[in-house]
Symmetry: D3
């Protein structure tokens, strides 16, 4: 399941991060995945204070978004990282690593996210393409919008052919690690939110009971 | 979870089985569980045509009952067996066997059932008592009523002290073998039946989708 | 995961089924799902000998297809059913039923399939659209091609606006009921088929061992 | 499974908490569950030092009780909260929330507990009723006694009709999250404790091996 | 877990099968696994009446053995097949196939078995070696003895260097498909058989309850 | 699965620990398992600074070993403990405790490990014997070598009959708690390491995808 959410970042936040993106130092993306020949992009050098500031702005925006929270059941969110694709750059088909090393303990990446910083009209190519067997989904979001998708997919960023693509990427560990269970729980919560007050009180209570039981059963 | 359903058998069916109960031959209950010292009751000898007829009457009544079907998700129902408790008889605390040998293939007993044949005022003692740790549930049903309960409980029939207790007992293999999953699915189906038509069409479809997904996931 | 396979039916088979489609009697699709207001199409009346013949032709073609077999791990395949959409007809968003009643025992529908009979240029609208949260996949296949997809999705056939859409639909019970486990096993089998002979013999044996262990573990 | 344990609190501890209950400030129970119309009781305001003291007394008593520890396999115990029901008050049928927000990390509520502070003769009504389908269990404990039951039940406190009901309630996260697995492990441990020394050494070792294997397998 | 059981076949049965082994036609073992280069042995041609007779003798002996039944929880046993290793022959390291095609439905091979026909002094080499990482187990049984071991192991028959090795091999589908769960259930049953009558009646009943619950939970 | 790894400790480290072993105070092994009559050995008193130093040397050596890391997927490693067996001492058949109490939180023992300190020629008896039903594995390692094996086995140290046996023992909590899943993941990682660079890039990516998916699915 995929969720594309608009306006996760405000215009002011987008502008701040774009400014940082102009001055901050970028390094080869392969620096963090040396053996990954598929990766050909630039990532901000996270040792700079401005890089940390960009991460914090985007991280706070993601954490406060209710739509994403309801969909992902986040436990921990990795610091978003600014990535830049110049013409010719790409990130070939790959699977995200199951564990992201973090200071306290490795984060299990259940959900991956991309936040767009560039207007889609400002570059050509560069779509995020998620492969689902013989079919695929291609996404190119508006600035400030974010897509979240299971880290258990093969996906790629196709080559940018013109202009520049600026995005922030992140990984989220969910309370509900199985993607199908996570989706079913989200659906029941949505039904409860939209229909609960119309229901007979007893049935509403039963629905809450089922949701609580599944949430407990599937959480880890 | 327990479900006590009234009028599973009609008055005519109860009467037919009572008549059979008067003429049919009974043997010691321990005959079918020789090592079970807790068992001290009488069971009809199932090799007699009348015994088969009694089983068929009760079996058909159980199979047609919608409340039981919705609650149990039955795959196979063992032929109900007539049991009689005279004063002093009992069936001490025990767990039902996980597999019931049947002609084709052993039936996995997920749900146990008791159908009462005798008016509760016609005997003393003889309650079905289900033990749940330090607490217990005690049931003495009306003629024609049936209780279904997980075979994974410790339970007993306390001694009959006066009169005669006549019941039919059976075991059901469910499509959904886990008792907690079975209950959650039943609850969602009940919510759908009672609230579905009041819901926005899209949400109703989502609820059906969740139910279908869980039914598939949990069925075996 | 989705798999669109070309030429599952030969030209001769397509022609045979098209001819049957011209003469066979069709009834309202809702006949088999009376409470489903979303369903507005026509289905062949399966009591006719020609209808059975069409099912058999398509069923045999699906059963012999190695790509589908490798992807689905089929245990049982329901008789394909011819469906027709005239202008204005559609099948609104829905989830497929978890169990399909069949003579011997209900079939658990893990995978749903559509085989196209009509040239895509011969009708407008009528795409099969699979909803995956905010994103979707839209498919309109060539005659004789088949798409298989998890029955655990919300999907629809959007209204046909011009011409006629003729398809055969079916449901498959898989040896591996979980869609994610099914996909992982398929991927390992593909890797073994494509790379096995290049591997050191010991490593090839290890890969076979992992595949056999997962197949056993996940089969039901 | 339910376990009612007597004398979890000593007379002195009961008296201390009763005294605190007389002076401490209570607020509407709905304060901590604003959307729960079923809840109509009073809870102590936990920002007061005396409230913390009452929690600590009860928390320590629960943590030291071996019967409860053996039955629940506690990982974390939420601070018990004093609740008061005046005539007319009740807590309608509800399911406990799956997660209780705590300073460090949310506590998963697997087991719920009630500790009675009032003599049962001092109030009418106010029974804790646990619903198990068509059957139910009704409990009214002695002062200092505690009942623990799976948080995955629908339960209620029926209206108090006379006098005052004072209880402490808590939620426990278990090392073994599934209630059925938790019970089976408890049963094996009890068998080992009661029968182990009578067994042949080799068989005793085998039983320890099974218990250790299940404990590891089911723990999280 | 491994179980080597002596005297599964009687001397008379061993003699009958040895006689059949002298007259029956053998074909290359690779006939039934054409792509398996590791396999270099001879198997009896199962289309001959004598071959069927040998299978039946061994199959009946295995089915009646209580030790094996208790250990394996057999659902179906594939017809044992006579295999012969002449000097230089071997069956290199391999994993057994997860499914064995049988007339009715494929048999899931959970447990593999070897029954020895030849006296160990009559040949050199030819040990059955089961690989468990860096360690291994090597077995060379007495005539009539049988070893059963999880089909989920890498194992081999090392080259025979002198004499002739005659064995019957078979595959068993178990009611309890997971090898670790199967072993734990076997251990509890053994404890019950050996210690049950020494126990307090209530504790014995509890042990039976745990065994029945696990048997139901783990069976498929 | 078992893995015996050589040279986990360097000669210098072995020498350091041997020296500590000569001066450090030992106590009866039963001190840490008072009810375990099977245990008859000596363990170093861990309150001494030298004991801590020995633990640290061995702990660091284990943590840096890539073979062990790949095989065990360690999350936490308990401080290794020096144990000594004089003639006549042994540790009878037992199962390791599922939880090892540690300062922060109990460690779940998934994998047990023994590191040998004494030359095998310097003592008689004292083999580590792992029981797998009717078969067993017997190990007596070189100084500095380590064997890791599932804590879910019955195992023993047979009596030392001559000389002295000095070992360090430890328990490891794994990211992948199920022993069979842990082994399958290890096998796939080995295949990837040994064959990955020979593969077609697309197939290599698919293998990484399967590994990442299983790692996420099975981790806890």
């Amino acid at each position: 399941m995929f969720l594309l959410v608009k306006n996760v970042l405000t215009s002011a936040e987008i502008e701040q991060i774009r400014q940082i993106g102009k001055s901050v130092r970028f390094v080869e993306g392969r620096a963090s995945n040396p053996h990954n020949l598929a990766k050909d992009n630039l990532q901000m050098d996270i040792t700079q204070p401005d890089a940390v500031r960009a991460s914090n702005i985007a991280g706070a925006a993601i954490a406060r978004n209710e739509e994403i929270r309801n969909f992902v059941f986040p436990k921990r969110i990795a610091s978003p990282l600014l990535a830049r694709y110049e013409p010719g750059m790409k990130f070939g088909t790959h699977a995200d690593a199951p564990f992201i090393p973090l200071p306290n303990a490795a984060l299990r990446s259940h959900v991956s996210g991309t936040v767009w910083m560039t207007d889609p009209s400002a570059y050509e190519g560069g779509e995020l393409v998620i492969h689902l067997g013989s079919e695929s989904i291609s996404i190119k979001g508006e600035p400030g919008s974010m897509v979240v998708y299971p880290s258990t997919t093969l996906h790629e960023v196709v080559p940018v052919t013109k202009g520049q693509r600026l995005v922030m990427i992140t990984f989220i560990e969910s309370v509900v690690s199985d993607q199908i269970e996570r989706e079913l729980l989200w659906q029941l919560n949505e039904i409860h939110a939209l229909e609960g007050l119309k229901m007979d009180w007893g049935n509403r209570t039963r629905l809450q009971y089922v949701i609580a039981s599944l949430h407990r059963k599937w959480a880890s």
